[in-house]
Symmetry: C2
Subunit: 229 residues, 2 copies
């Protein structure tokens, strides 16, 4: 599966969050990053190149910091210029592709609700992108928020790396079993390139062992439910 990540960030070079995500994403194959702001500093977008590249993608990610509850202006301009009516509605060039949103926020996620300082939920605020996916015949993925990256400790960042890698690369839906299989396959592909095969083999065995136990648990839960009915 090919994933095209479109990053919109006016100060991308100074962004620790974006650097972290790009390093994580590039560790795996088939993830292609493009910073709209760095590629087109004067805003003069090469429409043909962009349209052709997106045709090749199975999953498209809009990745950005939230500026006043929207993406920065470079993504707006990109959408205006590249997503022509001809491309999206006549040619249906994006049909059946997936659209994901990776949005980093400086406030706590818990503030995005009624009674919170931000009042609206992320689902409400990202509605324009969901509406675009609807119009383009794309499947809109659950939003992936990156919450207060600068406050994260090492273990939280490791978890973010693992979750993010799965979000951009693993098959939908993001079930526990699906993610485990994806992680195992990624580790196996890494193992063939590395020297410390024994360590990676141990990790894979450990993951599979836990997966087996989860499968057992799920089977037991199913039995109990069946008896109750």
């Amino acid at each position: 599966m090919k994933t095209q990540i479109l990053v919109s960030h006016p100060q991308i070079k100074g962004s620790g969050t974006q650097k972290f995500l790009e390093t994580t994403g590039k560790y795996f194959s088939n993830n292609f990053f493009e910073s709209i702001d760095l590629t087109y500093p004067d805003g003069d977008i090469d429409i043909d190149t962009e349209q052709d590249r997106l045709r090749e993608a199975d999953r498209i990610i809009f990745q950005f910091p939230m500026y006043w509850y929207q993406a920065p202006d470079s993504l707006s301009r990109y959408m205006q210029d590249v997503f022509t009516r001809k491309y999206v509605e006549s040619q249906r060039a994006l049909r059946d592709k997936e659209l994901g949103i990776v949005v980093s926020i400086g406030d706590a996620l818990s503030q995005f609700q009624l009674g919170g300082s931000e009042h609206f939920t992320l689902s409400e605020l990202m509605a324009p992108y969901a509406a675009f996916a609807n119009k383009a015949g794309m499947k809109f993925l659950p939003i992936f928020p990156v919450e207060q990256f600068s406050y994260m400790d090492e273990s939280q960042r490791l978890k973010l790396a693992s979750d993010y890698a799965a979000y951009i690369g693993a098959e939908q839906p993001f079930s526990l079993v699906g993610r485990t299989e994806w992680l195992t396959s990624q580790l196996e592909s890494i193992m063939t390139k590395r020297e410390n095969k024994t360590a990676i083999k141990l990790i894979i065995d450990s993951i599979n062992d836990r997966k087996d136990r989860i499968d057992d648990l799920q089977e037991n839960i199913k039995l109990i439910r069946d008896e109750e009915e």
Copy 2:
């Protein structure tokens, strides 16, 4: 009351809708129009000038055609640059002002609902601007949609002009009585400058006559309701 209308439209010179709205709005005093795209063609916004001007306004209007369910990029850039955290959150410079949205759409408004081709309502799609108003301590006005302007006939355009003039200039809330009083005061101010005073006086009398009849009706409805309780 002073109203500052910020127009975001990359091809504003070719827009019949924007020309019509601007002509209507400029007919009345205290409405100030600014095309972000014409004032800052290179995107280099004069932040101090903009911040100072907005301090003077009682009502601020974001006016734009909907491009993929959002405003064009010039409004995003304007908000990023002019609405600094210091200005909005520390100085509270926009507090208690009103924020209105005038959004022109090429599809029928009836498509903006579950089951319609656009799937989402205008209220859902404009949530980022309502979230901004919430954060800035502004009062968010009901959205003013301009639906398929190019298909409108003369009488529909006259109605649009009257509704739009009230939206940007009349006191909140937009009740029938409040609007009638606003319209009468506007006509009286026009009458002092014009020669055809008799004609305008006739219109004012006609409006006031209808207003009296509406007042009577409302009084009757109130009496019936009171009896029912």
